[in-house]
Amino acid sequence: MNQPLQEPVPASIEDAQIRWRADYDARIGMDRQVNNRSGIPIKPLYTPLDVDAARFDADVGFPGQAPYTRGIYPTMHRGRTWTQRQLVGLGTPAAYNERLRDILGQGATAVSLIPCNSVFRGYDMDEVDEELLGTCGVVANTADHMATCLDGVDLARTSCAMNDPSPFTLLAFMLATARRRGVDWRAISGTSNQSDYLSHFVANHMFFRIALPGARRILTDHIAWCAAHVPRWNALSVVGQHMQQAGATPAEAMAFALCSAIQFADDCVAAGMSPDEFLPRFTFFFDISLSFFEEIAKFRAGRRIWARLTRARYGARDPRSSRFKFHAQTSGVDLTRQQPLNNIARVTAQAIAGIFGGLQSMHTDAYDEALSCPTQFGARIAVATQNILREEAHLTDVIDPLGGSYYVEALTNEMEERIAAVMASVEASGGMYRAVESGMVQRLIGASAQRHQEAIESGAQTVVGVNAYQVDEDAQSRPALARPYPAQIGAHLREFADWKAQRSSGTVAAALDDLARSAGAQGGDNIFGRVVEAAAVGCTHGEICGTLRRELGFGRPLALV
């Protein structure tokens, strides 16, 4: 039975807060300073005094309504949950297709293709060390290879994400495959992941192929071409994930991504496109670290900034232009080699933060990522984690379930301020293109990476199994590694050589000449359109990239320590 309150009810919330503070201070002893990864001091308690109720309509509002703090759609995950998009890339096209069908059979709902690092670097399989082929992604160099990769996949009904940096050969190969199968390009949907060349110059250099000015030109051409020919395709994915994985704080990563989006949008406007024509196809890609509430606040703040920015800066009128659509991936940097099964717990916490953050699409990392390229066993657990969170844990019953939390709303406001401050410094240095050209962004990221590392080394940031709770581990307990059979790769190489020898060399040479002329001209011709034509007539990935590298220069990131 409830007992009546013995203590007098305080006269006001301010009085109650003062009394709580006195009790807290008396009992806590030496309170520790808590800062989140973005450097925001975190208080022990948040109350109605931390949020301005009068700003609810303007800052929080309702899902599907600007500023979209609570989500970009009225129904959010109650209506439709996120796209379950696991990254898959392995060995030969046939091996990839087998793994892809397995993942689709386990509940994944969309295709994602990771090519081999040789492809990322812009080379064909016969241009690199054979030892490295297919160890981290699928060795796809031609339209025929893509047809094998996507065998049995209904291209008109399956969203396909291609990890496909400039000049977007994988999309070109996919379009060639679609045409052969009689699939209308206008039915094709998906995303050009890794189209954000600025993030590649700054951080994940693996994807960087062509020097900055050329990459800038090709991206604008790609956006314009896709809008005209593949209207359901998201030509641009702005990547904050690379920056955060390289060390940027969550606030910095969001700020850099938003500044990159501004740069790309400015370039599209300069090329004569109208904002409501290209903004609805802008998408974003972020990291979800283990800093649970900070990540949720990061996503809520990002949505709000984008909604206001698209209207204020670009005069966007179409609501789709202001909706901040994003894919997110759980953070690999937070995973440990030590006691690797613990990573399942880490990925689960990260994934919940992403779900509460209102994501549209998610990849959960396999627990064995810190040991090797993920095994099939690890990949299945990652998919199951999403299935459990989506269908067992009741996380999706309520839209933005943390909205209205004093802490989450206050933190969303503080993250927004922190993000805006970083954005202002980038804008002051001439915008994102200039800021990465000068190395400013790289230096900020390097400094943040060092601060995080120091926190781990000093023990200020616990990492279970690394700087705390270590146990003696038996190497035998670690999972066995899957590698493509060298024989398969050898056969793939031989088939490639035979195929090249049988091609019409005249047709290939003519297509590459057209591509070179297009790149050599100062605009006027759409370079990506020429890439699509070259891919369709049998030019290889390495030939297309090599031609553009010769015309536009090879990209090298700044070496900064």
């Binding site: 690092n117 060390d129 160890t135 981290c136 390097g446 320590v561």
Partner: protein
């Protein structure tokens, strides 16, 4: 005279994730060592040339996405260039069975994710001392 170790921190192969190499390079520099740092994707021949021209004691190779598989090729080239005495360390994601192959190929040590920076700088300092002692036995004090 105190030995100031000279270290080349680089990445070979195709991957471009450089958070690890940048952090380790900055740490070794801050620990008082002379650090030569390169961006990723160095050709094996370029690494050999740089190691020779810069006269480094230690080469640190960072690998995240299987580029460690061509380290044995680099070891062969280093020996062929007369640089067999340079200590080569590898840091990053290296599966157990591959670690053994690297050690068999002459790699001095493999550091895995979670290795404390101090353990890396301590090893590099000792390795540099050994390399110098072997190169200049007369100067041993």
């Amino acid at each position: 005279m105190a030995v100031r170790p000279k270290v080349l921190i680089t990445k070979i192969g195709l991957d471009g994730h450089d958070r690890g190499s940048r952090i380790v390079a900055a740490h070794l520099r801050d620990a008082g060592m002379e650090v030569v740092y390169t961006p990723p994707w160095q050709e094996l021949a370029a690494v050999v040339k740089l190691a020779l021209e810069e006269d480094v004691d230690v080469i640190g190779l960072s690998s995240l996405a299987t580029d460690h598989l061509i380290v044995p090729k680099l070891m062969t080239k280093l020996r062929a260039a007369g640089l067999g005495d340079v200590a080569v360390i590898v840091g990053g994601i290296v599966p157990d069975e591959d670690e053994k192959a690297l050690l068999d190929a002459g790699v001095a040590r493999v550091f895995h994710p979670g290795a404390p920076l101090e353990s890396i700088s301590a090893f590099v300092r000792d390795a540099a001392l050994r390399v110098r002692a072997a190169r200049f036995p007369a100067q041993e004090a």
